[in-house]
Amino acid sequence: MSEDREGTYVYGVVPAGVKLEGLDRKGEGMPEVWLVEVGDLAAVVSDLPANEETATRDHVLAHSHVLAAIAETTTVVPLRFGMVFPSDEAIRDDLLQARHDELTQLLERFDGRVQVTLKVAYEEEAVLREILKSNEEIAQLREAIRDSAKEESRDARIRLGELVNAEIEQRRERDAAEILEQLKSVSLASLPQPAEKELMVLNVPLLVERKQLDAFEDAVDEVAKGKEELMRFKLLGPMPAYHFTDVEEPAWA
């Protein structure tokens, strides 16, 4: 190991002997990666130069980019961002051998499967418009305070916002359940996550058979069809099964 080398960055673990495809894209910001193998397991690694120990946007993107590229063709157990080993020996001893059984189990569980993450959010104006249309109490309260001075109607405004928030919650629950229901037949497991922002309807990683990806994407298109005014859909992936590494039996709740 040369002196200007901080250590070896590990992205994830794959079965030994696999061919890493789609990783030869240095021009697109893809770092050079290679395998450190022992027995039937291999770690996907790259150099971490000594002057780059602070996380940058490039590091974060490289982590995601490399793992996504591998997951397109190969089963991979993703490591969490920021795992740096001092030597290849440490990778062999403390990762591949020390965690051998767990890694093997995860590779089996993820075999032929990938994660996709679906994020759905309401378009604020559209959802508020629907709420006004359907909820008489909110519509009336709004009319009552619209023209009053802000200071005078503060309590009423809070009440109005509270009602709107409750209505959004209700709709969120209903819409999220409806969307998930339509994706059940084309996915193996789901793991809904907390909302990232107020108007988020759904933030859900799903485990999908690689072979079923087309069918899954069609199903998402079908779900989104006709809802473009009301909701914004974003589909991330395919990516390794990040959210399912600590789930023993991935399944639909």
Binding site: F81, L95, A121, E123, R157, Y242
Partner: protein, 140 residues
């Protein structure tokens, strides 16, 4: 398999692996951890992620919603009469408004991560030509 052309005309955004804010909010603290080798300097970035995620309805939220509802000038009870305005809002509404909301997180991260060019944040990973480390490196 495909019952219809999958992507043409789809209103589902597909940024692949995602933008920086996608990556941070979606996968940054996920995956297998080998505690001894988790590098604090690299992992400290998670703190940012926690920031991005916390969503708790509060009085501020309520006041904001009330304000937003009050701003809706176009009465839905008069569908006819204002076609131009309605059209304009619906078109602009789906594309621009929420984009702003989603951008907020990445802008903030851009600053903290000291990356310089915030505009690139929304670009998908695949389309990023930039590369900071050009130094030649040998395999192992």
């Amino acid at each position: 398999m495909a019952m219809q052309p999958a992507t043409s005309g789809s209103n589902v955004e597909r940024p692949g692996a995602g933008t920086l804010s996608d990556v941070i909010t979606t996968i940054l603290d996920k995956g297998l951890v080998i505690d001894v080798y988790a590098r604090v300097s690299l992992v400290g970035i998670e703190l940012l992620r926690a920031d991005v995620r916390v969503v708790v309805a509060s009085v501020d939220t309520y006041l904001r919603f009330a304000e937003a509802v009050n701003r809706l000038e176009l009465s839905t009870s008069e569908p006819a009469g204002l076609p131009d305005l309605v059209e304009g809002i619906e078109e602009g509404g789906s594309k621009k408004k929420t984009k702003g909301a989603l951008d907020a997180a990445s802008e903030k991260l851009g600053e903290v991560l000291d990356t310089g060019d915030d505009e690139e944040e929304e670009e998908a990973v695949e389309s990023r030509p930039r590369r900071r480390r050009e130094k030649g490196r040998t395999s192992s």
